[in-house]
Symmetry: C2
């Protein structure tokens, strides 16, 4: 993981002093050639200053650098917070000798604390100096908050005999729910593509990854996914087949990162896929998967390794979607536990109990009503989640 | 609490053997004169057998008895479960010498287990024999599941020099969220009123009580609130002023019971009112109060006694309602913590920290946008909640 690169990009991460424990808290990604760029941002109406700034800058479709801090979200910080975000971008731009509007900024951490921009400005020379082609690992460390593991994924594919790379870095382990949520993800690729194409591919991949995961049902003020393409590989996306190849790799990178986020969910021990089949529509399948994946009662039962399928059915029943309880089947992996809304008895439960002890498994809800389907990814809800979030600020 | 009565009603509760620990699990309320009746039921599409049966019977507007068991929800039990609910009502009707359709039934407990109707039938003679005018306390014990405290409230008021009583009994401590949820409530009154009037009064009171509380955001398959009026007091509701008097007392009884449910929420240590003021509309205020009151991050911060107001603002920002973060103020009781979307500093936080140590307080979110308002009641989210729900069935 420490040797992951993306051709034409340099990256780095250092400790600027924002985190009291002296851990990495400031990161940079810089592209040697100007990159096309696309981004998706939180839909929360409370948006952090860096989100507001990036949403102004990203329509230009080009960028040269992203600078990110952890430990402070620069959110609910008023006019000063916005000016600080501009200053943060300016500090990087000066050192890199590029214009301010070629720099995107991103922050994650506590909301509502004064933003320590001076620490960032002071640390910028060291950050730029220490960045290099192998710096993605340090960058990934610098954007972590309650994350326990570094999240980097890199994949290669070939177009026209030219090999391209997609390297993605993510952070996030709490406040995670569809429509992103304290989730930052920065994806670098050396394909050649314009920003409109990137935007479309990013929306598609995001919908199937970061928008179908949940840890605690809360969403954040700071989420963003940024995709940069600098063309370094010479591989150019010029037709539908190339685009499909690129999309497949991008989907793979984002879904891998999204699963890493759920698996590293605050206090999580399990990664569970909730698949809803044969709903009236995909949208309704999604509603049900969302409601089940976010149910605290389902998530505590997953933690307790308890085959309490009644909670799954009850959660499905309160989703805003059509369901006929007496037609509904529920599987755990390949074991049928509920047939036509009724339990399949002690033998099935015995088999399901063994599945529940695994760290990864699947809950399948078959509605037998139509053709709609959807998958969500969730984790268990543990003592540790409560512990982490009861004293996050202290 | 053991001496609470409601004139013209007898009640009782015994152990029938459904609960393995030998605690009370079967209760009865019987009215000597035929009562007018109204009910509200869960909106969950997965409805337990007794809910389905009562929804068929209640349109008659009259009833003589309610029989309730805890320890098994008789839900997801198929055709047999429905027949068992009918048998349960028949067992009571036979002993009381009334017709089956004058008996309502209710169940609460685990979903999807075979329903032990024989135990109920066998215990019915003892239940009827042991019921008496002072039996509400035993009834209240018989309907408890994870509840730690008995929930009974009784109030008196006078119409036309005649004193009437409203006595309510409730259960519920998990799976609680607006639109009710593993919440059972039985309200007896000796006023004289027709079932249409009762229904209207019940909907009004329910909207301001059981529909604005949350423990864990999950809703149940078995919820119901039943209101019976037997006219025993001779106090008759004949004009708008009488109706208003009755409504005020009913509102008071239901809100008191609803608060008792939140306070006894699984693992709960705090009762917190979330009041949203000056939203664009009451409906939008409700959306925001609902989202904040159900946020796991807010609820774990309440548990941790952490003035993490950023989470409150972030939860408000993801509600489906208009909010201008830069206009929003947040108070804890009477202390202004957030002004125009920004924190009020260390002194305010110091004062708020003291409020957070209390077992009951209020969070006020003032949006400064319109005239809409709403209040929700929530509790903290603790280790104990996870513990209770991880091994509920074992």
């Amino acid at each position: 993981m420490k040797n992951i690169i993306c051709p034409g990009f340099i990256a780095g991460g250092i400790a600027s002093g924002i985190k009291k424990n002296g851990k990495h808290d400031l990161g940079l990604i810089y592209t040697i050639k100007e990159a096309s760029v696309a981004g998706v941002f939180t839909k929360n109406k409370v948006k952090a200053a860096p989100v507001i700034l990036d949403m102004q800058r990203i329509p230009s479709g080009i960028c040269k650098a992203v600078v990110v801090n952890s430990g402070n979200a620069n959110c609910c910080t008023g006019e000063k917070g916005f000016k600080d975000a501009v200053k943060m971008s300016h500090a990087a731009a000066s050192m890199l000798d590029i214009s301010d509007d070629m720099v995107l900024v991103s922050s994650t951490g506590v909301i509502g604390e004064p933003f320590p921009v001076e620490k960032i400005i002071n640390a910028m020379p060291d950050l730029v100096k220490s960045s290099n082609v192998n710096g993605f690992y340090n960058f990934a460390k610098a954007i972590m908050t309650t994350d326990k593991v570094v999240k980097i994924v890199s994949k290669k594919e070939t177009i026209d005999n030219k090999t391209f790379t997609i390297t993605g870095v993510a952070k996030g382990s709490g406040m995670i729910r569809p429509d992103m949520a304290t989730m930052l993800c920065f994806v670098c690729t050396d394909v050649k593509a314009d920003s409109d194409m990137l935007k479309h591919s990013l929306l598609v991949a995001n919908e199937k990854s970061f928008n179908v995961i949940t840890v605690d049902g809360d969403t954040s003020t700071n989420d963003m996914v940024i995709l940069m393409a600098n063309g370094e590989s010479g591989a150019s996306i010029s037709n539908a087949s190339d685009k499909k190849k690129f999309q497949t790799v991008l989907d793979d990178v984002l879904l891998s990162l999204a699963k890493m986020v759920v698996k590293d969910g605050e206090g999580a021990n399990k990664l569970v896929e909730v698949e809803v089949k044969n709903a009236v529509s995909d949208k309704q399948a999604r509603q049900i998967a969302d409601t089940v994946a976010n149910s605290n009662l389902v998530k505590t039962a997953i933690f307790g390794e308890d085959a309490n399928w009644g909670r799954i059915l009850a959660a499905a029943g309160r989703a805003e979607a059509l369901i006929e309880p007496y037609k509904t089947d529920i599987y755990f992996d390949n074991i049928l536990m509920v047939k036509n809304g009724q339990g399949c008895g002690a033998l099935a439960e015995e088999k399901v109990s063994r599945i529940l002890k695994k760290t990864e498994y699947k809950i399948i809800i078959d509605l037998h009503m139509g053709q709609g389907s959807a998958s969500y990814y969730t984790c268990d809800f543990s003592f540790e989640y409560v512990k982490i979030n009861a004293d996050y600020r202290s």
